[in-house]
């Protein structure tokens, strides 16, 4: 395997003074089906991503993180889905934008890498065509130039012998290669925003590390804003600058990576961190899973959705007692928290319980 190399890209008008690439405000997604209660999969989600920044959306499966990413890209089906709130890419509003406009942005200004590289690639079309079609769609380019550029892209994401691979079909590539090919397609037009939806879940551990390293280099070298969607706290620890923890469709805790790992405040975040197996723990020490499952939720309208599984839960976590939904509130510099009874920490020097708690 050739070393991972990222070529220097021409500096884009670097981030426009740190103005965020992506601003998501009060995003909500409701699935409506005839004859069924509408389900609110995402509610009141707000965050932003600056150029070169990596933001993690973390949570269990079903917490709404993938739906959030699809809503940002405008990839949710139009029928049976209501999207509310605002998503702005460099100030341009995407919610409610016409399909033609979104197609012009997707692949060019914002791109996405999906979870399962095999099913995300068309089995009957050669890799080369699947890479060049993006270039031909968004850039004024001849077919010949597009092929040359595709070769360069595959080489850049670390696929050896790229000109041969271009002629091959997805089933002829290994899992890691396929994910690299998908990343190459996403990078083809040097997007300003890249959303990676669990890009390493379907890969084995050594390949995972390589793919993450590739993404990290990419962000550093090109200033691309990266939204990392994952349930894997290891990925968060290695990659993300800022983390938003989601539970049952809402953000319940936001913090910078170091703060979050050092002092998780939401009992759910604390539970996630505690349930990660540790190599430096005592032999035979039991793991600490969060009890119950993501299905044991109550609607946010009735208080805190996590309350049924929470060890800190008290009576006022329910609206019957407290009178309103638990709000997402300021919780110290750079932090936000949705919890009435957060985890407390004694005044110890910072770092004593310390960074890398998840390792």
């Amino acid at each position: 395997m050739s070393p991972l190399t990222i070529e220097e890209l021409p500096p884009r008008d670097a981030g426009q003074d740190g103005r965020p690439v992506l601003e998501v405000e009060d995003l909500s997604v409701t699935f409506t089906r005839r004859g069924e209660q509408p389900t609110r999969a995402v509610d009141g989600v707000s965050f932003s991503v600056a150029p070169g920044e990596t933001v993690g959306l973390v949570g269990e499966s079903g917490c709404g993180k993938s739906v959030t990413s699809l809503a940002i890209m405008g990839l949710l089906p139009r029928r049976g889905v209501e999207v509310g709130g605002s998503v702005r890419l460099h100030g341009q509003e995407l919610i409610g934008a016409p399909d033609r406009e979104l197609r012009g942005l997707r692949g060019a200004d914002m791109a996405m890498v999906f979870q399962d590289p095999l099913s995300s690639l068309n089995p009957t079309v050669p890799i080369g065509v699947q890479v060049t079609e993006v270039l031909l769609e968004h850039r004024e380019m001849s077919k010949k130039d597009a092929v040359a550029e595709a070769t360069r892209l595959l080489d850049r994401v670390g696929i050896p012998d790229p000109s041969r691979r271009l002629k091959e079909y997805p089933h002829q590539l290994s899992g890691g290669m396929r994910q690299r090919a998908l990343i190459a397609m996403a990078l083809a037009c040097s997007p300003r925003l890249l959303i990676a939806d669990e890009p390493t879940t379907a890969l084995d551990v050594t390949i995972q590390a390589q793919i993450l390293e590739l993404l990290r280099e990419l962000v550093v070298d090109t200033g691309t804003a990266l939204v990392m969607i994952t349930h894997d706290l290891g990925v968060v620890a290695g990659l993300c600058d800022r983390v938003h923890v989601m539970y049952s469709g809402r953000i319940i805790e936001s913090a910078d990576r170091h703060d979050l790992f050092a002092r998780p405040r939401q009992p759910y975040t604390g539970g996630l961190l505690a349930s990660v197996p540790r190599l430096d723990g005592a032999r035979g020490a039991p793991l600490h899973p969060i009890r119950g499952s993501a299905r044991d939720v109550i609607p946010w309208a009735e208080g805190c959705a996590f309350a049924p599984r929470c060890d800190n839960a008290q009576d006022d976590c329910l609206t019957e007692v407290a009178g309103s939904t638990v709000p997402l509130e300021y919780d110290g510099p750079g932090r936000e928290l949705r919890c009435r009874h957060p985890l407390e920490y004694p005044r110890t020097p910072a770092g004593a319980t310390a960074s890398g708690a998840a390792r």
Binding site: D99, L105, R106, M112, F114, N122, P123, L182, M185
Partner: protein
């Protein structure tokens, strides 16, 4: 690729051997034996004995079988009891008719079925969708001979728009080269003969094509509905490709894979003789020949036609397998 074809052709040998044994045993198992079957119930014992001697039926079974086999490999299936002409000659005369009819039926079924199935899926839940689903169910459920009879009655007998029997007007004195009447007409530049032969294909072709049409509509619809939810279609949309490109390259191409399998199987089925349709339209293909042979107790024709049709069927399936490999790289043969 070549090895694949050769291997498949070699597989033909055991298939044909097995079939020949079955056919041979079937004839011998007829009550009273082939002689009785051929001469009728009231044949005298003397006549039967003479018949058996004449055709070597008094020999031991294995001798009879080997002799039959020896002739069969030389494509000699004897002469038709009805017309006295060699069976192979009759087959070569009638097979082109069936091939033409099958082609017409399949072009009709594919040409209408795929667009209809695709549109039904695109407008999932619309009136077009429900109509095509119900219609295709009706198409599969309607007995072919009934539909053939109805079409003939309406368009040939009552309205007189289209010819309702035969492969060509007898008064047209067409030159025969290949026995494909339409093709012959084109080759000899006898345009009226070609056109007339083509018109003769329309009604039986539509009758014959209904079931494949209904199946193709259903499979195309289901397959498109499947494919539009595939991850790679989402990827294609995430790349911002134009809607037309997404549909053509990512949806339709993959959706047609299962459809192509169906088309192959249906073509093979139609080629091996549309007995009912050909009979209703008195269409001179292998189907009506088999029908006539059954009634005339023409066992030589039956034996020969069935064996040769088996060869045709296997060859068509081979073609289907090869073309499937061209469509789907995952099953491409090396």
């Amino acid at each position: 690729m070549l090895r694949f074809v050769v291997r498949r052709l070699l597989q033909l040998i055991p298939i044909l051997l097995g079939l020949s044994v079955l056919l041979f045993a079937w004839l011998r198992a007829l009550p009273g034996g082939p002689a009785q079957a051929a001469l009728g119930e009231r044949a005298t014992p003397e006549a039967i004995a003479r018949y058996n001697e004449l055709f070597g039926l008094d020999q031991p079974l294995y001798v009879q079988y080997l002799r039959f086999l020896g002739r069969a490999v030389q494509l000699d299936f004897g002469n038709s009891a009805r017309t006295g002409r060699p069976v192979t000659e009759e087959f070569l005369e009638r097979m082109p008719g069936t091939i033409e009819l099958t082609l017409f039926a399949m072009v009709f079924a594919i040409g209408v079925g795929i667009p209809l199935g695709y549109l039904a899926a695109r407008r999932h839940g619309s009136w077009l969708d429900s109509t095509s689903v119900v219609g295709s169910l009706l198409g599969v459920a309607t007995p072919v001979f009934f539909l053939a009879y109805l079409l003939r009655l309406l368009f040939a007998v009552e309205l007189g728009w289209l010819p309702g029997s035969g492969r060509q007007e007898v008064r047209i004195d067409a030159t025969r080269i290949t026995n494909f009447y339409v093709l012959d007409g084109l080759l000899t530049r006898e345009w009226d003969a070609a056109w007339d032969a083509f018109l003769h294909l329309v009604l039986p072709g539509i009758a014959l094509g209904t079931i494949p049409l209904a199946i193709i509509v259903r499979i195309t619809r289901a397959s498109v509905l499947d494919v539009v939810n595939e991850d790679y279609v989402r990827t294609a949309n995430a790349k911002g490709l134009a809607t037309a490109t997404v549909r053509r390259r990512h949806v339709i191409r993959n959706a047609l894979l299962p459809v192509s399998t169906t088309i192959g199987l249906q073509t093979g089925l139609l080629l091996s003789g549309a007995v009912l349709t050909e009979t209703v339209f008195a269409f001179g293909g292998v189907g009506s020949a088999i029908f006539d042979a059954i009634f005339a107790r023409d066992f030589a024709v039956l034996q020969g036609f069935i064996l040769m049709l088996a060869v045709v069927y296997v060859l068509v399936n081979l073609l289907v397998d090869i073309s499937y490999g061209l469509l789907d790289p995952r099953v491409r043969v090396r």
